[in-house]
Symmetry: C2
Subunit: 296 residues, 2 copies
Amino acid sequence: MFDLNAYFAEKIERINAALESILKTTERPDRLLEAMTYSLMAGGKRFRSLLCAAAAEAAGGDLEDVLPAACALEMVHTYSLIHDDLPAMDDDDLRRGQPTCHKAFDEATAILAGDALLTLAFQTLSSIAAGSDQQAVKWLRVIQLISHAAGYCGMIQGQMLDIALEGTQLTLNKLKSMHRLKTGALIEVSSRCGAELVDANSSQIQLLESYAQYIGLAFQVTDDILNVEGDPAIMGKAVGTDKLRQKSTYPSLLGLEESKTFAGKLIDNALQALGSFDQKAEPLRAIARYIIDRKK
Amino acid sequence: MFDLNAYFAEKIERINAALESILKTTERPDRLLEAMTYSLMAGGKRFRSLLCAAAAEAAGGDLEDVLPAACALEMVHTYSLIHDDLPAMDDDDLRRGQPTCHKAFDEATAILAGDALLTLAFQTLSSIAAGSDQQAVKWLRVIQLISHAAGYCGMIQGQMLDIALEGTQLTLNKLKSMHRLKTGALIEVSSRCGAELVDANSSQIQLLESYAQYIGLAFQVTDDILNVEGDPAIMGKAVGTDKLRQKSTYPSLLGLEESKTFAGKLIDNALQALGSFDQKAEPLRAIARYIIDRKK
């Protein structure tokens, strides 16, 4: 049986060490770097970077092959959380069990720390230029993939829609397509970057993309479920907020039990997409199972 | 005599056409894209992209060689203006003669439009991957240069300092080093990217860097001068705001006349740095002269 906890713990340690070493390259710590570090090292699940590493492993590679991408994905994800939490957006006070960045620092610092983490993601992705020309082609491609997924055709568009649609009753399809942009795009690209960086073949890439689409959606469905019945002490943030904000969610549209069934089905589909992969895809399978069992 | 107006007009037209075609790649226009377009196409001076093109020309190249970099520099610059104008930062209502982005739209949209333009800059810089491997090395290097200059060791750090130091009396050296980060870093990298993309030799790169340092500083000194005696109707924004905010500026530290002398000296130094360049550096020389003559 694959020991997911040990696998997660080891990878997270390596990812955190890499992130910390990037943040320590500056000459002198200051308030801006302090705010960036505060949010980036606040003990996130590292879901996107783990997915990137696990996809690389499934295709025969290793975390080391994709480390700059894994780090960049966490920076992009963290910047998006900092900005989404701002008073002008979701106005959240608590994130990962700590005051949000603008609460711990101030609004201007939070905006700039988010900007700086987004910029640092691309600095990290371009910092391996010294390698071979072929490596450069590969990393330029990863920058293309991540900037597209994170940008105005992906994650940022999703956040715009989420704000615009707050308080309106959505159809299930509209909800899905909003989440596909807001959280799905970055989750899908995490898996894709992992696969492309270790030269997965096109059939593998397609299957991994399909896998990532299912777990991306499942991740959002379970997020909505946790917002109904999760334990705020474990989650490190308030629950019941979706209902308060009259947000359309899977539980609000499908009911709680039906949402759980739906999430289970998505995970089954994700596992099926991995059918032709050998035991090197065990981490990806474990990640899929973890998504419905998670408590935070 | 080099006709700067005709030169500027022709280049700006090509840069604007390139920017517009990038913004038009999306399927359907929406509020986010509208806000991005509103700020990016608001008739900026295109100083950074022109500098990039002129540096490329001085080293024997052409605007076409550097067009994605020229566009990306304008996107990065515009995003920084949108975020700097936010209520949590400088709280400005007017920019380039129009309401600022958060005034014309709303705060959330302005934050996201800024984020999206920053992300689009890197998407633009990585979109030429289809070319040769050597091209990929070059563009990866440009991403490295721009992300470093725009990031927490450059422009964003400068904005942090600018906010932190507001209302305190600075020494001339502190003021210079703040501006070197806030506006200088991106101006310097504009020239550097232009030079590197057309394979300038290291001596040319060094001289162009020195030139860019002088004009970057001169640009800021004249900005401060215009904030004292500029015509708000020509400038499209309020004047006298630095004094109101008790900002340390060159005029406040040196006096108005001494500031003008200082700017003139910087321009002389910039022109001297170009001494060994032939007539292909005329656009760079014209840009240097324009800086002290400009009315906006």
